[in-house]
Symmetry: C2
Subunit: 222 residues, 2 copies
């Protein structure tokens, strides 16, 4: 057994993972899957890509063991193969944000700094939510909420928000979140809430960022 061969072997296995993560499309798909399980068709719809293409990318993710698939009737249901996958995604994004100016600039342009909740740590937010001093609002589709959500969060999917405004308290500040820093649903939710006179802000975190920082989340399903 000579050394160069061994080394190449080990690093090749690790590279299987990073290769799988090296395409923007696969990162997007994996981020969706990190929110909960999905069918190929729903992933295609949400990512805006052709089903065949999505299927090909899912195959690559499957071969790297980052996702697993199961059959449910005529559908294939995919999910991330563990919580560590979401955490890896979050770590990767953090490194990208730290070192790539381009990414920071693009994000800054995109996200209204005004809408961003500032000066409150995750732990502080958790306490305030527990005491009812803020309302933590999950604006993702309800299935994703059921799969996992921040502690004390209430679910109102973005497309139902307008119809359900009267169920929100006028006197408690609202903190909206969605899938993570690149997801703009919470941004839109805050915009809507503010025009209707609510005090609202968004946080960048989603469930996976929360988990990556060692905090726990709530689940409604096994």
């Amino acid at each position: 057994m000579n050394k160069p061969q061994i080394k190449a072997l080990l690093y090749e296995q690790v590279a299987r993972i990073s290769k799988a993560l090296s395409s923007p499309k696969r990162l997007e798909l994996l981020e969706l899957l990190a929110q909960g399980e999905k069918t190929v068709e729903s992933l295609a719809r949400e990512s805006g890509d052709d089903v065949k293409l999505v299927s090909a990318h899912l195959k690559a993710l499957r071969e790297a063991r980052l996702v697993v698939a199961r059959r449910a009737g005529r559908f294939m249901v995919y999910r991330a193969s563990g919580a560590d996958v979401g955490a890896l995604l979050a770590t990767l994004r953090d490194v990208a944000e730290t070192h790539l100016v381009e990414l920071r600039l693009a994000l800054a342009q995109l996200i209204d700094a005004e809408a961003q909740l500032t000066g409150v740590s995750r732990e502080q937010l958790l306490e305030q939510a527990q005491r009812g001093e803020v309302l933590v609002l999950d604006v993702r589709p309800e299935t994703e909420y059921r799969s996992a959500h921040l502690p004390h969060a209430r679910s109102i999917p973005l497309d139902e928000l307008e119809d359900r405004l009267e169920t929100l308290p006028a006197d408690v500040p609202i903190v909206a979140y969605c899938r993570g820093p690149f997801c703009l649903m919470s941004e839109q939710a805050v915009a809507l809430l503010r025009t209707r006179g609510f005090r609202a802000a968004r946080i960048e975190d989603g469930v996976n960022e929360w988990l990556a920082h060692g905090l726990s989340v709530e689940r409604l399903e096994a």
Copy 2:
């Protein structure tokens, strides 16, 4: 500004990082750089690759901002662009080890389970080292030790170990470490120490694994 374009832009930036990590050679180089700064020539020597090839890979890493270079006379000195890079590497390897059976098998074949220290947590090891109940031994080249090492660790590079055996205590168990789980220097050190009658075991951790788990390390240089 329409959404599909924006998304592609953001994920493309993140993919720049994972693309840079998607080649076994670059992973190896980055792991070496995560131990401390190195010249192109020393990286080529340690990785066993051609200088031109190493230079090309370093360019890719530089473009992803994972490493930075500075000129020192006729040499270019490269280093990882932050501690988060080493932590990302450790996270990536953890995910690979968790999900890829091939990697676990290759590692198990390679590493004598006997030599592995078991049942002791990082924190316990730290306490025992502080009280002098074990000797933590860093067998990497001395420059890497000076750049960063585990708390209370003593430096004896692998190729000097045989000559310096008499400086080691016969009655205190020795725990050797090197660059991380894929580095076999500590394995060889343990083999040598055991044939000479010392009680010795290795740990998989290196400096970056230590940091990735939120523990601190010691440094001798700015």
